[in-house]
């Protein structure tokens, strides 16, 4: 992949790495004993996982009445969290697939972890549709399998059913894509390992031996999967948005939802990637591979998608006014100024106002700013889903049924518990798999490594060193 690179491009790998150094740097975290930080993190994560298991068991035993949902508001934390986690699960595939197709080389530094995050986030998301039903033991009714339950079949008109297909397809393709990328890296680990670990990685690497034919198949498979995954990035959240867009409830029944949801998903996904990457690169000392330039690129995506989302919010308000339909107008007026005004305020502040700071290059390249902004964005995006789901339901057509909702201990426990699932998986992942795609980094080393780019940069050398310094 020695493509001619514009001299104005900044290097993507710092530290004058040789191929061996790359292997050493990236493989070492999984070859050492776990650090104290990791152990503490893992204990916390597993504790939260236990909270999840307990709360879900209780909810299944008691019934959905363990949650504070009511006759008016049938979905609350459950579906809010579902949409939120699905949204987070968007960045990985976007980075791997769409950026691969667009030949964005900076993706190589972050794609592995982002994809892993996608998979874990989708697992967290998928928990909610499963546990939110009243009779979980009948969940197989959702599946289009031949049955003896009479002539009844699933209802293909229902967006919830589309969700089942959309999520499962997305999960499958993401998993394949992620694992495909891992195969050559597992082989690298295998070659360095002895004993049990060697056996483990031997199995995981599917007998990869680095033959040219393997590489050729690997490249074509990656490309095919990228082609498959690209429409999925757009379709999953489009279909999730159909849960709302195809209904009749004012505030849900909105044609703008598909693009708005997709933009929001990428927005929150990138924010989550930022949160994780900033911690990971520091903890695993991968600053040379996940550089300030990566962070800045992702901040640019956050700024773009944040503004798309902002425009979507404003269009909704405009259309509500323009429609002259009392229920629509009321729904939006109520969103902004009604009983849940604080959630709308949180959404607007976190999603639209706060990302505007990224117009400044200095802030885009600041680790602390980025970290706090990424948290902000995820809070904002959580509130966005809460606003859409809960405020619309709480004040719909008939004022007699208007109601109020706040979560029960069980709902909060389950939400916190999903972090337990997520981080348990993530921490195991960073222990056993290379967090940065070794093979892919190596493929761009010759074109984007600083030692190869340095003398070509001419006047920019000084600047490159400066940004290198920032990394440390």
């Amino acid at each position: 992949m020695s493509i001619v690179v514009s001299p104005t491009r900044e290097p993507l790998v710092f530290g004058s790495k040789t191929y061996h150094q790359v292997t050493e740097d990236i493989c070492s975290p999984s070859e050492k004993a776990p650090s104290r930080q990791w152990v503490i993190g893992f204990i916390i994560a597993v504790t939260f996982l236990a909270v999840f298991v307990f709360c879900v068991s209780w909810q299944i035993f008691y019934g959905v009445g363990a949650w504070n949902l009511n006759r008016t508001i049938g979905w609350g934390y459950d579906i809010t969290n579902f949409v939120w986690w699905v949204g987070i699960g968007h960045a990985g595939t976007l980075i791997s697939a769409i950026l691969l197709l667009f030949r964005q080389k900076w993706r190589t530094g972050v794609n592995r972890a982002a994809e892993a995050m996608t998979i874990f986030a989708v697992i967290c998301a998928a928990m909610f549709p499963v546990i939110h039903v009243g009779r979980i033991w009948l969940l197989f009714y959702f599946l289009p399998i031949p049955n003896t339950r009479g002539p009844l079949w699933i209802n293909f008109n229902s967006p919830l059913l589309w969700d089942v297909f959309a999520i499962s397809t997305y999960f499958t393709v993401s998993l394949l894509f992620w694992y495909t990328g891992l195969v050559p890296d597992f082989a690298t680990l295998r070659d360095r390992a002895v004993g049990f670990r060697r056996k483990l990685y031997n199995v995981l690497s599917f007998g990869w031996n680095g033959a040219a034919k393997h590489w050729q198949r690997f490249e074509s498979l990656s490309l095919v999967l990228a082609g498959l995954a690209t429409p999925l990035v757009l379709s999953v959240h489009t279909i999730v948005s159909f849960d709302f867009a195809t209904s009749v409830i004012p505030g849900w029944h909105t044609t703008i939802f598909p693009p708005y949801f997709v933009a929001g998903a990428i927005f929150s996904g990138f924010a989550m990637v930022q949160t994780l990457m900033l911690v990971t690169r520091k903890a695993l000392k991968l600053e040379d591979y996940i550089t300030i330039n990566h962070i800045e690129s992702m901040n640019k995506v956050i700024l773009l998608t944040g503004n798309i989302v902002g425009i979507a919010y404003l269009s909704e308000l405009f259309i509500a006014w323009y429609s002259q339909f009392v229920y629509e107008q009321f729904a939006f007026a109520n969103r902004a100024a009604g009983i849940y005004w604080w959630s709308y305020f949180a959404m607007m502040t976190c999603n639209v106002l706060s990302p505007q700071v990224f117009w400044s290059r200095k802030i885009r390249r600041s680790i602390w700013w980025t970290f706090f902004m990424s948290i902000f964005v995820n809070i904002g995006m959580w509130f966005e889903r809460f606003v859409i789901i809960v405020t619309s339901l709480a004040r719909d057509f008939l004022p007699s049924s208007w109601s109020y909702y706040y979560p029960s201990w069980n709902e909060i426990g389950i939400y916190l518990g999903t972090f337990g699932i997520f981080f348990t998986f993530y921490l195991i992942f960073v222990r056993i798999a290379p967090v940065v795609a070794i093979a892919e980094i190596k493929s761009i080393l010759k074109s984007s490594g600083d030692q190869y780019r340095g003398k070509n940069l001419g006047h920019d050398t000084h600047h490159a060193e400066e940004s290198h310094a920032e990394n440390h």
Binding site: G63, G65, V133, W153, S400, S403
Partner: protein, 1063 residues
């Protein structure tokens, strides 16, 4: 001959005991079926097990192991009949005409029984008295039969709250010994409408001449009886005929809800509220003078605010205004009413009344006042207006109120002085609880040698008596009622007594050593001697009696005569109540629990109060006021419903009553319902609400006064953590004058401040359509335009839909006349009873988990100070383009070919998407295991207040379940089915009778329960059908019609008939 041989033989083989023959004797069939033979041959050939056999064994053993290991199902015994009773066909309901009797509440009904158990109460359509309607209380009474808290045998109170069981014979012996020992005997009861019961009491008094019968009523009408005695020489409660009254001026009587005979009154009043002429609608007018938003007041056209203590003044002022116009002498009066509008109103009301009289029409002026002078003046006003003989009938009087409060005062004094030796308390009478001086009664009771309670359920009084001789529930009893002088109804048992109880009449007969000791014979004798001779249709008594039992009634023709007040009223002007001071409190009887007697019934406890929409609680209604800008001001700055206040009156303090902020509550007044705070009863009565009856007072005549002045409420900073109200938003376009004196929409202006919810856009909602007679034509035109616009929008559709399917066969629908509907809730309880709707308890209602399929939405509109009220029964609209149906991922809810939106409970997984997407929010989710029909046995905390068992957990309670309707388990959605079981039953009946289906074959539970005839069910495809006719009515509209959900519940616009001078 062998030993086997008996001495006779059938064949030579048998004779010789051939071995093959002896073996064949063990086979039942001489030759095995041919298939066995064939299979034997085959298996011989294959010799050994085949692959298929292996699979069979495998399948069987796994299946058997699974079943043996996992499926331990609880065993519920169902015993079949040994010999089938004649009248019972399993699966087919039997109906018996009877009457609902509880205390002084009576109503002719028809009881539905299935497999010998009563499960549902219907109205008796033959009755002119009720018009076939029922009340929520009558509907709920069937649950009382299966009340686990009932007395199960006679006994003697052990003084520690327990009952020492005895046998009836022993009890009778002990009581008779004590009775014959002499001394004063007193029988206490609420008003008895039963002629036979009265005869029984007479017989008892004959047997024990020292006995006296004392009657009192919890919500007393003593003053009316006494006033009528003074005015006309007859101590009777008049019969009112609202159907002939063009104007009703009402001072506080809740005649549509709780006062005396609400079903009768609602039935006749609603006849005058249905619009027949759409060019020029004719409606009666109801003008209500009151301080609180009472249920009847909420149905009034004009509501005028007066303080409770100003009622006397207001009545005198109305009299003077009427007298001025008729030339009668006026009364001296001083003082003005606090409310300027009310002060000015009397000229207009009098003018209205007189114009009505001069047009040859009648009216009614009415008050629930318990002040004799006020009632006499009311009588005089009615006299001046010529209402006696037209709308007020003293000949065919009502038997439903006979109690005189002062008799009770006398009795208490006698008891306290120790001169009463024996006290017998009949029926529901619970004086320890429901008298203002109940504690004095209790103190007196201790001095009575022998006290016997004949209550069916434990109550405060029965717990304080020495003996309990429990009576039957009315569904287990014989009896009769005579609510009006010329109307007689039978009470017949529909089930044998469930427990060792004996009906009160029988007990009295036994104690009186009556020659006729069987009460059913006793009644027949009474009817033979009194009624049989008054009719000419039947010549022999048996057929007369059989027919009366079949129809449940005899209604004799009556002639009402006019009457005039024969007393000089001048002396009474001074005796009316004087305006009081400070905060005034009005006590009212709540629709559900009544004066406490119905508190045992969870169906009624969970029936939302029509006005406050609260359940399972006492509330203090506090006034609110719009500040003319963007805020409401609440009394004592109590900004949230459910905050606790301490209610103080004189030396009595009632702690921790939650408040509701009440529109239409006059400033400086509050209202409190009585009937809560029971201390003895079953779990649903205990610890519910607060006891306030001890704060009532009696006036100089001994009559209980249902208001007080100089009251005080103080917020104590606490709140009811489980305050249960089913509706949290109340107004829909109330209007008022802002600071620049311009009339504006208060909803749009008020509460615009952040966080309280933007309330604008409320007026244009296509949910409520209302008009006044004055703007009727305009509003009708507006409605027509709206519907045309909606039809246009709905035609802009890409999809053809399925309308062509529904044009064939049946296409069910419903019509609800919002003008006839008063919001009483009978339909709601009927629905609960018919469809096994679970009761969830206060905490769950607080969490908005109520399960009712049918609810009655209540909205305020009009004048912000004294708004009009809109009641809207809301249930599944059975949309032909239903939003719930297409979103269900598993097809659990779908549309029938007859246009019903149906639920397949077995199929439902419980995503709740349908409930979210329902614009009417009528779908109900089983959040927990409310009916103990769940997979996990009893995993929920008990939703009932302080109960030992979940509602419906007891097998006894489960007897009330309708076997035609599935009991839903947790995790599934449920909702109104338009009583699909009744539709099916009607269709089958028509089919077995080989005829076409008539609309009258099918009536949903809500439609049969309605006392106003507001709900009509029918088939759209029936060309001359009722539904077609109702829907073609220009006032019909559909809620949210512009959404193209195509609902099938047509609503008829609510129209008021305001006196414009009073606005």
């Amino acid at each position: 001959m062998s030993e086997l041989n008996q001495g006779y033989w059938g064949s030579s083989e048998e004779f010789t005991n051939d071995e093959a023959f002896v073996n064949s004797l063990h086979n039942e069939f001489y030759e095995l079926p041919i298939l066995n033979k064939l299979s034997e041959e085959e298996s011989e050939k294959s010799n050994g097990h085949k692959r298929r056999d292996f699979l069979k064994y495998l399948g069987f053993s796994i299946g058997a192991a699974t079943i043996a290991a996992s499926c331990e199902t609880p065993i519920r015994k169902a015993l079949p009949y040994v010999s089938k009773p004649d009248a019972i066909v399993p699966g087919v309901a039997n109906y018996y005409a009877s009457s609902f009797v509880k205390g002084n509440d009576v109503l002719p009904i028809v009881v539905k029984t299935r497999e010998g158990r009563p499960i549902k109460i219907e109205g008796n359509t033959l009755s002119a008295f009720s018009g076939g309607g029922t009340s929520a209380r009558a509907q709920a009474s069937v649950l009382d039969l299966y009340d686990v808290g009932r007395y199960k045998s006679p006994g003697k109170n052990d003084g520690k709250g327990g009952l020492k069981k005895t046998k009836w014979e022993d009890l009778d012996k002990e009581i008779k010994t004590k009775l014959s020992a002499g001394g004063n005997i007193r029988i206490v009861s609420n008003t008895i409408t039963s002629p036979s019961m009265n005869a029984v009491i007479q017989q008892f008094i004959t047997a024990y001449p020292t006995a006296q019968h004392v009657t009192y009523d919890p919500y007393s009408s003593s003053a009316i009886l006494q006033a009528n005695e003074k005015s006309f020489g007859k101590r009777v409660f008049p019969g009112y005929d609202f159907s002939k009254a063009q104007i009703v001026v009402n001072f506080g009587a809740d005649f549509l809800g709780t006062w005396v005979s609400p079903v009768e009154y609602t039935n006749s009043w609603s006849k005058t509220r249905k619009i027949k002429n759409f060019e020029k609608p004719e409606l009666s007018r109801l003008i209500q003078y009151e301080s609180n938003m009472s249920y009847t007041g909420s149905n009034a056209d004009n509501r005028m605010l007066i303080r409770p203590s100003e009622q006397g003044l207001a009545i005198v002022k109305l009299y003077n205004a009427v007298a001025a116009l008729t030339g009668a002498a006026s009364l001296p009066v001083s003082g003005t009413l606090k409310n300027a509008k009310s002060e000015k109103s009397f000229q207009s009301v009098a003018k209205d009344l007189l114009a009505n009289k001069n047009a040859g029409k009648a009216s009614i002026v009415l008050s629930d006042s318990n002040n004799i002078a006020e009632q006499i003046i009311i009588n005089k006003i009615n006299d001046l207006l010529g209402n006696y003989g037209q709308t007020i009938d003293l000949n065919n009087y009502s038997n439903q109120r006979k109690g005189i409060d002062s008799d009770m005062v006398k009795l208490i004094n006698e008891m306290k002085s120790g001169s009463v030796n024996t006290l017998i308390i009949l029926g529901e009478a619970n004086p320890v609880y429901d008298l203002p001086d109940g504690n004095e009664f209790a103190a007196g009771l201790k001095k009575v040698g022998l006290s016997v309670s004949l209550s069916t359920v434990p109550n405060e009084t029965s717990a304080a008596c020495t003996y309990v001789a429990p009576s039957n529930h009315y569904l287990e009893s014989w009896g009769d009622i005579q609510p009006r002088k010329n109307s007689y109804y039978v009470v017949q048992p529909t089930i044998s007594p469930l427990f060792k109880t004996r009906q009160a009449e029988q007990s009295l007969l036994a104690w009186a050593n009556s020659p006729v000791d069987d009460f059913s014979t006793f009644i027949q004798n009474i009817w033979k001697n009194t009624l049989f001779s008054q009719q000419s249709e039947y010549s022999d008594f048996q057929s007369f009696w059989n027919n009366s039992l079949h129809n449940g009634l005899i209604e004799l023709p009556s002639q009402s005569g006019s009457a005039s007040v024969a007393v000089d009223i001048a002396s009474y002007a001074a005796a009316v109540t004087k305006p009081g001071n400070g905060l005034e409190v009005k006590y009212y009887e709540p629709m559900g629990v009544g004066f406490g007697a119905y508190a045992n019934n969870p169906w009624l406890q969970e029936m939302p109060d029509p006005v406050t929409r609260t359940v399972w609680t006492t509330v203090v209604h506090i006034p609110l006021k719009w500040d003319g800008d963007s805020e409401f001001e609440y009394y004592k700055n109590l900004k949230k419903d459910g905050l606790y206040v301490d209610f103080k009156l004189g030396k009595n303090t009632v702690k921790d009553i939650p408040i509701v902020r009440q529109f239409g509550q006059m400033s400086d007044t509050i209202a409190i319902p009585v009937g809560y705070g029971r201390t003895v009863g079953n779990p649903s009565a205990l610890n519910v609400g607060n006891y306030v009856i001890n704060t009532l007072v009696r006036d100089a005549d001994g009559n209980v006064r249902y208001w007080n002045d100089n009251a005080d409420i103080t917020p104590n900073g606490d709140e009811d953590k489980h305050f249960a109200s089913v509706q949290l938003h109340h107004t829909m376009g109330v209007r008022g004058k802002d600071k620049s004196n311009k009339v504006i929409n208060v909803d749009e202006k008020a509460i615009m401040n952040l966080g309280n919810g933007y309330q604008g856009s409320l007026t244009n909602r296509s949910i409520l359509k209302s008009a006044d007679v004055s703007n009727f034509t305009e509003k009708l035109e507006e409605l027509k335009e709206f519907r045309a616009e909606a039809a246009h929008l709905n035609s802009q559709n890409l999809y053809p839909g399925y309308d062509y399917l529904y044009k064939e066969g049946h296409h069910w629908g419903m019509s609800i006349d919002l003008n006839a509907c008063t919001g009483c809730g009978a339909c709601q309880v009927a629905c609960i009873s018919e469809n096994n709707v679970p009761i969830v308890g206060k905490k769950e209602v607080h969490r908005q988990h109520e399960m009712t399929w049918l609810r009655i939405d209540r909205y305020y509109y009009g004048d912000v100070e004294s708004p009009n009220v809109f009641y809207q029964p809301m249930m599944c609209q059975h949309c032909d383009n239903a939003p719930c149906e297409n979103v269900c991922p598993v097809n659990a809810t779908n549309h029938s070919a007859e246009g019903l939106n149906q639920m397949a409970y077995n199929r439902c997984v419980g995503t709740r998407y349908c409930a979210n997407n329902c614009p009417f929010k009528v779908r109900r989710f089983n959040w927990a295991d409310y009916t103990t029909a769940d997979l996990f046995i009893r995993n929920e905390s008990n939703p009932m207040p302080d109960g030992e068992s979940l509602f419906y957990e007891e097998n006894l309670t489960r007897l009330v379940l309708n076997p035609d309707v599935t009991v839903r388990s947790r995790g599934v959605i449920e909702k109104c089915s338009l009583c699909v079981q009744r539709i099916q039953e009607g269709k089958l009946r028509a089919k077995t009778e080989m005829r076409e289906l008539k609309e009258s074959d099918i009536k949903p539970a809500c439609a049969t329960a309605c006392p106003a005839g507001a709900i009509k069910f029918g088939d759209q495809n029936m060309p001359e059908g009722t539904l077609k006719k109702e829907w073609n009515d220009p006032t019909t509209y559909f809620v949210l019609e512009e959404l193209n959900v195509r609902g099938k519940i047509g609503y008829k616009m609510r129209v008021t008939n305001k006196n414009s001078e009073l606005i």
